[in-house]
Subunit: 196 residues, 2 copies
């Protein structure tokens, strides 16, 4: 009779969620079974239900935890009073760090949100839209204040978000490139494309 090991400062539900994030990333949410997850943890599938409500609830937990982290950081940036380029650099670096530090969770939130049931799906998409619009607004203000060059804000935001998301393909590359070097290269490249 194996036991679920909780982490330092974490509940057993947290441990299950973390293992699930890894499994969902590797195989996809719909192709991952509760029995498979239980195997990884070293327990029977039914035992998981002492700690979680449902398979879907695990996905919800992952997706909204990631969304909340991004939104919290965004609000912090919005209230910082820094100039546009500083705000964007802060946001880009946060995206990169999230991708590197919480790879599984960010990957799952990016790829598996479609599997959320309503009303969670609508809620999640609304948060994404709001986040995207906030970034567009930041770029727009920068253009108006002439802090950055006159580009279409939507294209700029699309480019930035696509670029940082591309890091998921880089991940696991041995060490041709140091993390800090890649981070600085990407920040410089993305910001340089915005300066006048």
């Amino acid at each position: 009779m194996a036991k679920i090991k909780a982490f330092r400062n974490g509940t057993k539900k947290d441990a299950i969620t973390q293992k699930a994030a890894g499994l969902f990333r590797r195989k996809g949410f719909a192709s991952s079974s509760m029995r498979e997850l239980a195997d990884i943890i070293g327990v029977e599938a039914s035992s998981l239900y002492n700690h979680i409500g449902s398979k879907s609830e695990i996905l919800q937990t992952i997706c909204f935890k990631v969304a909340t982290e991004f939104n919290t950081h965004l609000q912090q940036v919005q209230g910082s009073g820094k100039d546009t380029l500083n705000k964007l650099e802060n946001l880009i670096r946060f995206h990169i760090h999230m991708m590197l530090d919480s790879y599984d969770e960010v990957f799952v939130a990016n790829h598996e949100w479609k599997q959320l049931p309503e009303p969670y799906l609508g809620n999640f998409l609304e948060q994404r839209k709001t986040y995207e619009n906030s970034l567009i607004e930041i770029v727009s203000i920068g253009v108006k204040k002439e802090e950055i060059k006159n580009i279409h804000p939507y294209v700029a935001v699309l480019t930035i978000l696509s670029a940082v998301r591309g890091l998921e393909f880089w991940h696991r590359q041995k060490k041709n490139l140091a993390v800090e070097a890649l981070e600085n290269d990407m920040v410089n490249h993305l910001l340089k494309g915005l300066t006048k």
Copy 2:
């Protein structure tokens, strides 16, 4: 008793595959059932098996059709004798056109290749790797010939591929931006980042 409608110059298998690509894009491969696909086509699920071998075979057809199109175009570019920037522009434009013209298929190949069974999975990944390495080689030669600035070829290729892939989020946007304008903006932006 409904019938499967084949297209101009297409077999019924092609019609099934095309409808499947749309379904798989919207719901994901694992979450799409053969009954659902049959419903969309207007036929019983078992009738599909007169034309296809299995659900997995449909995914294989989609993924390798896309891979072959990209590889064929790449070989054409490699043998063109043009300079580095011309080659890269050609490749970037092809990626954009593929994303716009064969949205469902490209999306499915990008998102659902993990669900391929061996040996198809290994084959697919090998083709992707080879494709990526060929792009890196093109950039490397450009750097060596001093046709483009001295950047890390891997980072350049990662940036280009991430950017064009980001177009899948843009798709379905009403018409804030004309297709040609977006295409030219993206090409210019990506190539400008490479010039000395």
